[in-house]
Structures are given as structure tokens and as C-alpha cells.
Amino acid sequence: MAARCSPGICLSVIFAAMIALVAPSQLVVEWRRGDSPQIAELFRRRPTGADLRNLESSLENACRIGQLVRPWMQWARFVIFEDAGDNAVLGRGGWFFYRPAVEYLVEPWSPEGEQAQGNVFDAIVSFRDDLAKRGIRLLVMPAPNKASVYSEMLARRAGGEGGPVNTATRDVLARLRRAGIEILDLFEVYERAKRTAGSPAYYLAQDSHWSPEGMELAAEAAAKRLLELGWVEKGSTKYQTRPAPVQRYGDVLRMIRAPQVERLFEPQRMNCTQVVDVETGRLYADDANSPVLVLGDSFLRIFERDAPGSGGFVAHLARHLGFSVSSVVSDGGASTLVRQQLARRPALVKGKRAVVWEFVERDLRFGTEGWQQVPLPPAD
């Protein structure tokens, strides 16, 4: 009589075999490539937290079976459970949200409690003071998380009157205002704009960033504020816009890292416009000698350095100001990295009268390398 095993034992054996298969197969892959086994690193390095995390991440990235199986598993999880993975959250109507931005919105946190790498207030105030010593004014412009502006697309019950902007964000902005920091409140700008009937979406459905319309609204508001404050005067350069539609998948959808999931959606179409100098007919370009310097993250990169080019916040700010500006963009690094970049190149602040500093709202909590104080080198 043939031996019979229970389904439970069979499943356990299959599961154990699947787990056991990964390590030897990876050893074979590395051996065929002529590399030493990566897992041997575990015994070569001092087992510090950072070393172990680096090794774990390196093993995860290099695992051949993982690379083959992960997209299909992700696809299955998405189709069956609508689970968009570790980095994305599927909202309503095909809208995707970046998970850390959602965590920022729904988890309680206090800027006072998370100061491992500096403090947001001290960093902003000391930067403002450093600039003031050079006669430069600072306009701080937090770019709202998409989940803060379009919470109703995250969950039906989340969208209430006045929006569910994280109270910690409101507290930080209020405290910065009390410290005399000039803030451009884009939360209010979008809230007002959304109330207009037939208003377009100010954020992209598949992306974590603003849409061309949302970006233009922010650029117009920033220019208006700079001019109203009298920090700069309107320039005489005439710019015009020309349509440059772009079609691509958004960054949050791509972050699922499963082409099978991407194929379930149409690439998003964006009605971008490029900024052109009327006199020269050339596309907008930065001017290092401009009185205005713009610092920021990927919200400045999108449409400006990415396709279509010369069609992002920086170009449209220049259009509204009537003169070229200069910019420093540090992807995912507007809390600390962009100021370090500026400190390495102090010539960039020479001759400036105003600095516009954009950072994404979630950076208040999750900013890369925290909110370190970065002193500007003394002026010549």
C-alpha cells in the first residue's frame, strides 16, 4: 500500500523545500559569476546594526530567485487582495499613494519627539538667520503630501470639510510663523482651488507629485508672494508657454516593481507646458546670477529636469516673476542634503535677495538625514 501523507505535512514539506532552495541556488549563481558567497559577509564584518541592515538589503537585492518570483507574487497580491506592496497604497478610482506619506498622515507623531538628527525648527530658523546675515530673505514652502490634499481619494470617509491635514504639520507651520519664518501655505492654496467647480486634479493619480496644474498653482502663488513682500521686483523678460504633453507611469505605480501590475493601468497623461523665452525663442534656462534661488526636492525636478523639461515649478516661477531664477534640486533631500550642497557651493548664494525653500510635507518627520543645522560658510 502506498504511503499516504496528510495535506498538512505535504504543504509543510513543500514550504520548507522552497525556503531551503533559495540559499543554495544563490550560492550557485554567485559561484558561477566568480564571486565569493555574499552570505560569508556575515562573518567577515563586525555585526553592527548598520552593517547587518546593509547586508540584509544587499542579499535581498541580489537574490536571483527573489528577482524572478517577486514581481509575480506582487501581481498576485495586487489582483487578489489589492495590496500594492510595501511602498504603495491603492486608493479609490485608481489613485496610488506613497505609503510613508500615508503613514505620516495617519500616525501620531511629534516633531519634539523625533530629534535623532536635528530639529526642524532649529534647522529652519538657523538657515533663515544665516541668510539674513547676507541680506537674503527666506520663503519656506512645504509641498503638501498628496494624501493631505486628496484624502478623499485615499478613503471615502477620510475627506471631510477643511481636509485632514496632519495636525502636527499645522503645529509646525504655526510655530515657524511665530518664529518669524515666512511660510507659503500651499494647503490653503489647494483647499481654495479645489472648491472651484470643475477644477482639475492638482496631484497625479499614479504619482506622489503634483500635476502640471498643481505645480503651476504653486509657482503662481510663490511668485505672487515674493512680489507682494517686495523682496524682488517683477522683471521684464517675456515668457510664453507651449503645450508639451507627456505620458508615463507614475512613480508610486512603478515603485510596486511589478511590470505585470503596471500593465493593468494606462500610463497617465499630463498636460505639461514648457516655458519659452519670447525674445530668444529658447526654452527656459536657469541663471546663476538671478536674485532668486530655489531649493527643493523632486517636486522641483518633475517636468523641469524630467520630461518635458523646462516645464516645472522653477520655469513657471520664472515666468510669473519675469526673470530667470537659479535652483538647486536634491531628490529626496530637501530637509538637510540640499543645504549641505549649498554650503559646499557658497557662490550659489552670491547676489541673491530671496531663497525659496521647498520640501515635501512628510520630510518634517522622515527627512533624509533629518534636520541638521548646516551653517553657510561666512560671506566673503
Binding site: R44, D86, V329
Partner: protein, 157 residues
């Protein structure tokens, strides 16, 4: 009979020995067409330290600044023994790290390990050649310029 068997064993032994010697790899200098031509500076250097955790962010790609000891300068000028080099997206093998933002970078190095020796083609300073997030945990500790690694190959010590 015994003498014949010993002769055979000796022949096999010397055969294997000579085969091993002829197949033994020459010390890997890490030189290839790219590392010897890209950038303005080319060095062989030992990776002394990867400070802190390498950020493996699905949303953003960063350059991480690492500390190297220069063992040999092949091209260009390097003023110090210890230099700081920005490696783009170091969680990835070099041949998979390049993208539109970083431009042409690459090499045969698969992972960064302190103590390993690399042959690198570089530019300096990093800010003139790469506009993106730079995680520099030596910031404020040194005034030395940061190099930008274009091509990174494994090399023997």
C-alpha cells in the same frame, strides 16, 4: 608494476600542478577600457569605511560618500592618501546602478565591502558632475573635496 604505478601517479601529479599553475589567475588590476579612459582621475584605492547604513530607498536614489585610502594613482592628481568618494546607489551592483540622472556610471563591482580594493575612474568635485541627493556623513568633519565615482572595478591589493 609498482614502479609503473608510481610513475603514473607522478605524471598525474605534475600534470595537475602544471595545469593549476597555467590556469591560476593573474592578479586582477581592475583595468579595463572604461576605467582607464573615463573621468579625469583614476586610482586604485582601499575602501576604508562605509559610514552608517546605505539608504536603499525605492523612491529616491542617492550617492553615498565613502572613505578610501589611495594605493596608486594611475591618472590625474590626488593630493591626499585618504579621499572621499561618492558612489551612486551603492546598494546595487555597479553594472545596474546607472540611470538618466546619474549618467554613465558602471563597473564590475557587485557590492561594497570595507577592506576591498577598487580601481576607480572619477571626477571632482562631485557637485560639478552630479545634481542629486548626496548622503555625506563626513559633512562638517572634513573640507576635502568629494570625488564622483564613474567606474568602479574590483582589484587585487
Amino acid at each position: 608494476m609498482m614502479r609503473h604505478r608510481a610513475g603514473c601517479l607522478r605524471s598525474v601529479f605534475f600534470g595537475v600542478l602544471s595545469l593549476s599553475v597555467s590556469c591560476a589567475k593573474k592578479p586582477d588590476t581592475g583595468a579595463d577600457l572604461q576605467v582607464t579612459s573615463l573621468g579625469s582621475v583614476e586610482v586604485t584605492a582601499e575602501l576604508l569605511e562605509i559610514p552608517g547604513e546605505i539608504r536603499n530607498d525605492p523612491m529616491y536614489d542617492y550617492a553615498h560618500v565613502m572613505q578610501y585610502r589611495v594605493l596608486a594613482v594611475h591618472r590625474g592628481q590626488v593630493g591626499k592618501d585618504v579621499i572621499y568618494v561618492g558612489q551612486y546607489n551603492p546598494a546595487k551592483p555597479r553594472d545596474a546602478a546607472a540611470d538618466a540622472r546619474a549618467g554613465r556610471i558602471g563597473g564590475n563591482l557587485r557590492q561594497f565591502r570595507a577592506g576591498d580594493v577598487h580601481r576607480m575612474a572619477m571626477e571632482v568635485p562631485i557637485d560639478d558632475h552630479y545634481m542629486g541627493g548626496i548622503i555625506n556623513r563626513y559633512f562638517g568633519q572634513t573640507e576635502e573635496p568629494v570625488y564622483w565615482a564613474l567606474w568602479t572595478n574590483r582589484a587585487a591589493r
